[in-house]
Symmetry: C2
Subunit: 418 residues, 2 copies
Amino acid sequence: MDIKDYMENVGRAARAASRETAKASTAAKNAALLAMAQAIRDGSAGLLAANAEDLAEARANGLDAAMIDRLTLTAKGVESIAQGLEQVAALPDPVGEMTDMKRRPSGIQVGKMRVPLGVVGIIYEARPNVTADAAALCLKSGNAAILRGGKEAIRANQAIAACVRAGLKAAGLPETAVQVIETTDRAAVGELVAMPQYVDVIVPRGGKGLIERISREAKVPVIKHLDGNCHVYVDAAADPAKALKIVENAKTQRLGTCNTAESLLIARPVAVALAPTLCAMLTAKGVEIRGCAETQALVTNAKPASDEDYYTEYLAAIISVKIVADVGEAIEHINKYSSAHTESIVTEDYSHAMRFLREVDSSSVMVNASTRFADGFEYGLGAEIGISTDKFHARGPVGLEGLTSQKWIVLGDGEVRA
Amino acid sequence: MDIKDYMENVGRAARAASRETAKASTAAKNAALLAMAQAIRDGSAGLLAANAEDLAEARANGLDAAMIDRLTLTAKGVESIAQGLEQVAALPDPVGEMTDMKRRPSGIQVGKMRVPLGVVGIIYEARPNVTADAAALCLKSGNAAILRGGKEAIRANQAIAACVRAGLKAAGLPETAVQVIETTDRAAVGELVAMPQYVDVIVPRGGKGLIERISREAKVPVIKHLDGNCHVYVDAAADPAKALKIVENAKTQRLGTCNTAESLLIARPVAVALAPTLCAMLTAKGVEIRGCAETQALVTNAKPASDEDYYTEYLAAIISVKIVADVGEAIEHINKYSSAHTESIVTEDYSHAMRFLREVDSSSVMVNASTRFADGFEYGLGAEIGISTDKFHARGPVGLEGLTSQKWIVLGDGEVRA
C-alpha cells in the first residue's frame, strides 16, 4: 500500500463528505446515530470476537496490564458504546444556530451562524470505544471524521467502523463521512496531520508523548490536551470544612485522571490550623506528602518537595504542598507551575474569589468546588471530545460546540456601502 | 546583534508583561490609550520627520508608487492615528465578561469568562498606522503585543513606538506590553513565529506572499487572511433593482479591497433579462467582462473566462461572470472557486436565502447586501485587526473579541464530585 496515495484518497473523500454532513438535517444525523447504536448491538458478538483477537495478539506481544485493560471490550462495554451513540443523538444540534443578530446604522442585520469546522482528524490510543464516541461527536456537529486508533485495537476498530458505516448508509449519509484508517503504518499519522487541504483540525487523545509528537509534526491546528497539574488553594478565608471536603475529593476520588489535584497551596495565616488536618486526611488515604520547609515543620511525615515536584502531574498517590503568603502568591505560583488545566480556590472572601477567577490563567478556574468537576459531562456539554489546555479556539472541556465555528451572516434588503 | 538572543529577550518580556495587561483595569488600559493619542499629537512633527527620512530612503531604493503611498504619513494621517487610539479607548472592554452561567445538577454553577490570548505577534508591511492600531487593539483586549513592521517604515514605526511606550508608562502599565522590533533583519520574523513559549498567536497583515510564508514557518497559530475572491449570486427570484445596485456597489465602489466582488453568478431563468443590463452597467463603469459561453452569447463585449478566471481575485476592473442553473449550482460553484471570504445572494425567495446562508462555506454570507459590508467597522466591532479566511478560532472580521478566548469558571459552595 502506498500510504501517501491512500491518505490522499481518504482526505479527498472526507472533504467531499464534509459538504454533505455540513448540510445534513438534524433528523438525518440523529437517524444515523441511532442506526449505528442498533448495528453495534446487533454486531456485539462479532465485535467481541474481533476484540478477542486483538487481545490475544496484545498478550502475545507482552502489552502491560493497563493497556490490556483499556483495550478490553466486554458485553457491558459494547452496550455502553451503543448508549453513548444514543446520548449524542439526544443532544441539541449546534449547526445552523443564528445568534447575536444586530441591526447596524447602514440598515443591514449582522450576526453569526454556527457551522461545522469541516474535517476532523482524531488520533487515539488503543481504546475501541473512542472510535464510536468520536464518530458520533463529529457527525452530530456536522463534520466529517478521519479516525486513527491505536494499532493494538485495529480489529475491534474496524468492526465498529463497519457499524458506523451501516448507520450512515441507513440514514442516507455518505459512508465516507466517518473513515477509520485501515493501515497500522505510522506513516499514515504523519500524512494525516499534514494535509491542510483536507483536514481542518486534529484532536489527539492519548498520552503526552503522542500529543507532543503530533503538535510538532502538524500542519493543521491541533486541539491539545497536555498535562493536568491541577491545584487547590486553601485561602486564609477558607471554610475549613469545605477545604477538607474539596481537597479530599480533588486528590483522592480518582488518582489517575487529568482533573485530579496534584498540588495543594495553603495560605500562611491558616497553615498552622489547617495544614496538619488536611495532610493527616491525605496521609490516611495513602497519599504521600511532599512539602516546602514550612509544610515539613507543620507535618511530621512530609517529605521535601523539589522545584520539579511543583511542575509534576503525578497521576499517583502523591501531592505537593506549599505554604504561600496570600491569594497573590498563590496565583503567581499557579501561573508559573500549573499546566493551565484546572485550579480551585477555597475561600469565603468575595474579593479573593473574584481575583482568583480573573487572574488564574487556566482553562477551568473554580471557587469552592472540586477540580474533579472539570469534565464535559459535569459542565453539561453532554459529551466531550477532549479537554484543551490551549487558549486558541477552545479551552477546557470540548464538546460539540468546540467542533464548530461561527461564520458571519448579513441579512439585507438591498443595502449597499456608502 | 544576535537575533535569536534579541527575540528571546523580547518574547520573555512580552510574556511577563502579558500577565500585567491581562489583569489591568479597564481604566488603566483606556488611560494608556488616551495618553498614547496625546503623545502622538504632541510628537507629530518628529513623527513626520522620521517618516520623511523613511520616504527619502524608499525613493532612493526605487520603491513603487503604491508602496510609497502606503508609507506616507501626513499631518492628517497622524491625527487619524491619534483618533484611532481614542476610538479603541471608547470600545467596551471584553476582558472578564462572564457569560452562560448555568446551575448543574451537582449544585455548581458553570459558565465562561472572556480572557486575553496572552501575547500577540503582528507582522505587517510598510504602513506606519498599523503600529498604533495593532498596539491599541492588543492592549484593550488585555494582550501584550510584539509588532514587526515593514523595514521601509522603521523610523516612523520607532517614533510611534516611543509614543506608545510613553502612554503605557503614563498609565502605570509595563512599557514592554507593546514592543516594536528594532531590527530590520528578516531572521527576526522567523524567530517570532517559532516561539510558542512566548507567543500565543500571529496575525500577519499584508499580501498573500507574506501570509503564505508565515503560515509555512509558524509554530504557533496564525490568524490568516488570504484572498478575497468574493461572489454575488443573482437568483431567479432576485429583485432586479436590488441586483443592479448590489452588483454595482460590490464590484465598483472600490476595486482593490478584499471584500470587492470578483465574480458574478446569474441564475439561468433570469439570465436573458438581467445579464445584459448588469454587464452593461459594469462595462459603463469600465469593468472588463469575462464570461462563460452563455454569458458571451448574451453580452456582446464579454471575453471568454477560463477556469483560472473563476479562481482569481483580480483587485482590478475585471469581473468573471457565469450563468448557473439555480441556487444549488451557485453554492457548488462558490464552495469550489471562492476563497471563503464573502458571498452574497440577491433573492426574494426565503428558502433560497436560507439555503445560501447555511450551505455557503465562507466567513461572511449575505442576503441582499453588498459584499463591501464585510468589515469590522460595518459589522459593529469598532475596529478590526484583520479578516480571517480560516475557520479555526475566528472567521471573518476579527475585532477585540477575536483577540480573546474564554475560560471556564465554576462557582461552588463546597461541592465535590460523587
